[in-house]
Symmetry: C2
Subunit: 152 residues, 2 copies
């Protein structure tokens, strides 16, 4: 569903930074979701692929903690990625409870495509914002996101 006109909303919403975060988060997700749907993926799949591309093999519990995905939910996501042959679960020789999850050859390539799509989406999202302000925005968002961790 499209976003409503910002100026028709009450000021208590349209000027509220928390509301704007929620609204823009949904908008960004929507733009990104449309693009990656062509690859048969949804956002959490992409978080996993990008993380494995960066970190190499990880246990499921490690992926879950890092990405704030419930251990229980991750199971189905990895099943789907395995069915697409983008990741595989290997035995961990040191701890037979664990599965080492890693990218396959096509998984590496799709992860690169996803990173590319992410850049294009950010560009579309911030089209009207001058580059200098864009970088100030990035800095401010990272600042607030770091502060948010303290309260957890």
């Amino acid at each position: 569903m499209p976003s409503p006109n910002l100026d028709d909303l009450p000021d208590s919403l349209s000027h509220h930074i928390g509301y704007l975060f929620v609204r823009l988060g949904k908008h960004a997700q929507r733009l990104f979701s449309v693009e990656i749907a062509t690859l048969g993926l949804r956002p959490p799949h992409c978080d996993i692929l990008l993380t494995l591309a960066d970190r190499g093999a990880m246990a499921q519990v490690e992926i879950a903690q890092l990405l704030s995905i419930e251990r229980a939910h991750l199971v189905a996501l990895l099943d789907q990625l395995e069915r697409l042959e983008l990741v595989r679960r290997a035995a961990d020789p040191h701890d037979r409870r664990r599965h080492a999850v890693l990218l396959t050859e096509p998984g590496v390539q799709v992860a690169a495509q996803v990173a590319d799509i992410a850049l294009r989406v950010e560009d579309a999202l911030l089209d009207g914002l001058p580059v200098v302000e864009r970088e100030l925005l990035r800095k401010a968002l990272r600042h607030v996101a770091r502060d948010a961790e303290e309260g957890d």
Copy 2:
């Protein structure tokens, strides 16, 4: 579930403005949801209360369009608000298909409480950000949110 440490994530996520929007949107929702839960409310209920406080009586279809809530979903939300006696549906004399939705006396008071909670949540969210940067952030977010409307 708490947010993971930003710096443990791959740069493709931790520096991506779209990802930060999604992440901060969820964080803001979580903070706000905890506060309003004491009133028996969830975020969409609050959007409705604040809108009615600003606009006065509205038809359901108008609320739905303004807040990007599905007409079908709005029905249950209003049922819940009616059960809490915060809004009521009145007959529209000009069009008997329409219901004029309006705040009750307690509804007006709760809407004011919600607006107050929203301000406190924003303050908690942006605790570490200097006021000047806070206003620059608000301006940038509103800019991006307005641009987003064009693509809809």
